[in-house]
Symmetry: C2
Subunit: 341 residues, 2 copies
DNA sequence: GTGAAAGCGCTAACAA
DNA sequence: TTGTTAGCGCTTTCAC
C-alpha cells in the first residue's frame, strides 16, 4: 500500500510551512511568486492532491449535493439527473445519487445517509404530498429543493410546472377535437404532480359542461392486466370513450402498447395524450401528443436555486423565494385527432 | 443557524467519555448495558447523528463509490446505474455519479474529484480502449472496476460480455435467415465494446465465406443525415443489402426510425438486429431482435467485485481475478425475418 | 468496562 | 508575506 502524500510532506519538501501550502492551494493572493513556485513544484513532484475529507471537516462544506429520484431508469428522471449532474459540476459540486423506488422508507434512509455524509444540500425529485421528513428538513434550515413535485403545505422550495394548468390544456385539446368522453389514467394521487393533474382534468371537463364520470377514470398501479381491463371497459360501454388522457408519457405509451395488441388504432379509434414530453414520445414510433414539462429548464433552476441557498445561507430573504412555477406547453403530435362524426 | 450536536455533547449529557460514545455507536461488544443505555438515551434526546466526514478522516473509508458513465440518459447506463446504486446501497455504500459525455477530458476531471473526495473505489462504464488514466489508477492499486468496456491491454479488472461472440451470433442469425449482404453500422471503434463487435461481425462473414464489403459498413457518428445517406446507398446499390446489424440498440432504433420515414418496411424490406437488449427494444412498437448484454447481472458482479476489492485490499491474489466475461444471448423478436427468395 | 490523550489532513486565527 | 498553534469530530491506542 503506497502512502498518501499530504500537505505536510509538501511543506517539508518545499521548505515552507503547512499553512503556506494551504494558501497556495487555495489561491490566496499575497504570496511571493518564488514561494508559490516552490510549493507548486513540490506538489507536482510528490503528486499531491488535497484530501477533501480533511478539508470538509473544518470548512464544513463538502461541495457535494444529494439527489433523490424516484426511479433513475425512468426517462424523466434519467434526463433530469443528467442535467442536474452537469450543472452541479459546472458550479463546483458533485452529486450523490439515490434511487428511492418511490418508497417513503428509502427516502428516509437515503436522507439520513446523505445528511450523515454532510452534503451541502439536497435536491428531491419525488416526494409524496404529505411527506413530513422533507418538511422537517426544510424547517431545520437545511438547504433542500424539490423539483417535479411539491408538498401540499407548500412549505418547501420547489421548482415545478403548473400541473393543474397542464392537465387542463391537455384535456381542452381533446375537447377542442370534439371528444366528449375522455378517459383519464393515473397512478395513485400521492404525488402533488398527479394530484394536480387530476384536478386540472376535472376542471377542464367542468368548464365545458362535460360531466365527470368515475367509470372513465383509472386510478391505480399501472399493470398490463389492469390497463387491459380498463381499456376493455371504456371501449365497450354504450357511450364509449374516444380519447384517453394519461397522467404521464410512460403511462400513455403503456396504453398505446396495449391498444396495439388489441388492434385498436391510435389515433383513428382513440386519441391519446400524455404528459412530460420525454425524449421517447418524440420517436416516430410513438409520436405522442403531450404536455412539455420543460424538464431541462426545471433541472437547471433547481440546481441554481439550491446552490444559491447553500452559498447564501445567511440571507434568509433569498431562500424564501427559491420556488418557481414553469409554464406547461402543449406539444401536438400524431396520437390525437379530430373525432369523426 | 442551529448548532450541530457532536459526540462530545452526547458524552457530557450521558456522563461518560467521548470514547465510550464512540464504542456504543460502533457496537463494541464489551460495554455495560446500563452505560450503553445512558448513551443511547442521550443520542436520542439530542438527535445526534455521526459526522461521517470526521469518521472518514481517521478510518480512511468513506463508504462511497464513484460511478462514471458515458451518458446517464442512455437507457443502458440508466438501467445499469439503477442496479449499481441499489446493490451498492445494500452493501453499505453510497454512489457519487458522474457523466462523462464520452469525453476523455471529463473522465479525467471526474476521476480527479472522486479521488480527491476519497471514494473507496470507482466503477467505470465507459473508457476508450487505450485510455491511460484508468491504467495508471489500476497500477496504483486503487480499486477500480470497469463494466461494459475494457482496456485493450486487459490490465484492469472488467466485467463485460463476450462482445466478439455476441456480434458473431448476431451476424450468424442473419446469415441463417439467408441474408448475404449484411450492412454494419457502428460508432467509431474507440471503445473495446465496439471494436470487438466489429471483429465479431467480420469473423462471422468470413466463417460463411461472405466477402467483407467496406461499402456496406458505416463507422462514424450517428446523425440522422449520415444514416439516411448510408441507407440510401446500401438500398440502391446493384446488390442491395437485405439486413443491417447495428452495434447497439440505440443505433438500431435510429435506423428503424429512418426506415419508417423512407417507407422501408422492417422486417419485410430489411431485417434489423441490434445489441444490448435495452428495455425499449422489447416494446411492441420497436420489437427489436437483439443480443442481450445481461446488463443487470453485469452491474451486480461489478459492484460485488469492487466491494470485494475494497474490503480485502491486502489479499493481492483476490484482486487479480475480479474480471468476468458473461455470455451474450440472442433475443429473437420481430425485426428480423427469413429472406424471401 | 471505561477514560485520557493523540491524531487523521486540512484550514484559520493570530502573531511576527 | 509567512509560521505557529489550535481545532474540525471522530476513532483508537494505551492505561487503569
Amino acid at each position: 500500500m503506497k502512502e498518501r502524500v499530504n500537505s505536510k510532506d509538501v511543506a517539508k519538501k518545499a521548505g515552507v510551512s503547512q499553512a503556506t501550502v494551504s494558501r497556495v492551494i487555495n489561491k490566496y493572493p499575497h504570496i511571493r511568486d518564488t514561494t508559490k513556485e516552490k510549493v507548486l513544484n513540490a506538489i507536482n513532484e510528490l503528486g499531491f492532491t488535497v484530501d477533501q475529507v480533511a478539508r470538509s471537516l473544518n470548512t464544513r462544506k463538502t461541495s457535494t449535493i444529494g439527489l433523490l429520484v424516484g426511479d433513475i431508469s425512468n426517462s424523466f428522471f434519467a434526463e433530469t439527473s443528467k442535467e442536474i449532474i452537469s450543472i452541479a459540476r459546472s458550479l463546483g459540486y458533485d452529486v450523490m445519487l439515490s434511487n428511492t423506488d418511490h418508497q417513503s422508507d428509502n427516502l428516509k434512509t437515503s436522507l439520513a445517509t446523505l445528511i450523515g455524509k454532510r452534503v451541502d444540500g439536497i435536491i428531491v425529485g419525488s416526494v409524496e404530498r404529505f411527506d413530513e421528513q422533507i418538511q422537517t428538513l426544510h424547517d431545520s434550515k437545511f438547504p433542500v429543493i424539490l423539483y417535479n413535485t411539491r408538498l401540499a403545505s407548500g412549505n418547501c422550495n420547489a421548482v415545478v410546472i403548473d400541473n393543474f394548468k397542464g392537465a387542463r390544456i391537455a384535456t381542452e385539446h381533446l375537447i377542442s377535437l370534439h371528444h366528449k368522453k375522455i378517459a383519464y389514467v393515473t397512478l395513485p394521487l400521492n404525488y402533488s404532480t398527479l394530484y394536480e393533474r387530476m384536478e386540472g382534468y376535472k376542471q377542464a371537463l367542468a368548464d365545458s359542461d362535460i360531466p365527470y364520470d368515475p367509470a372513465s377514470v383509472y386510478i391505480g398501479e399501472i399493470s398490463t392486466q389492469a390497463i387491459e381491463n380498463f381499456i376493455d371497459i371504456i371501449m365497450s360501454s354504450p357511450e364509449k370513450c374516444t380519447a384517453v388522457f394519461a397522467a404521464s408519457d410512460q403511462i400513455a405509451i403503456k396504453i398505446m402498447e396495449i391498444c396495439k395488441s388489441k388492434k385498436i388504432k391510435v389515433p383513428e379509434d382513440i386519441s391519446i395524450i400524455g404528459f412530460d414530453n420525454i425524449d421517447l414520445s418524440r420517436s416516430p414510433f410513438i409520436d405522442l401528443t403531450t404536455i412539455s414539462q420543460q424538464h431541462i429548464k426545471m433541472s437547471e433552476i433547481a440546481v441554481h436555486n439550491l446552490v444559491n441557498m447553500i452559498e447564501n445561507k445567511d440571507m434568509e430573504e433569498e431562500n424564501q423565494n427559491a420556488s418557481s412555477v414553469l409554464e406547461p406547453q402543449l406539444i401536438i403530435r400524431g396520437s390525437t385527432k379530430v373525432l369523426d362524426k
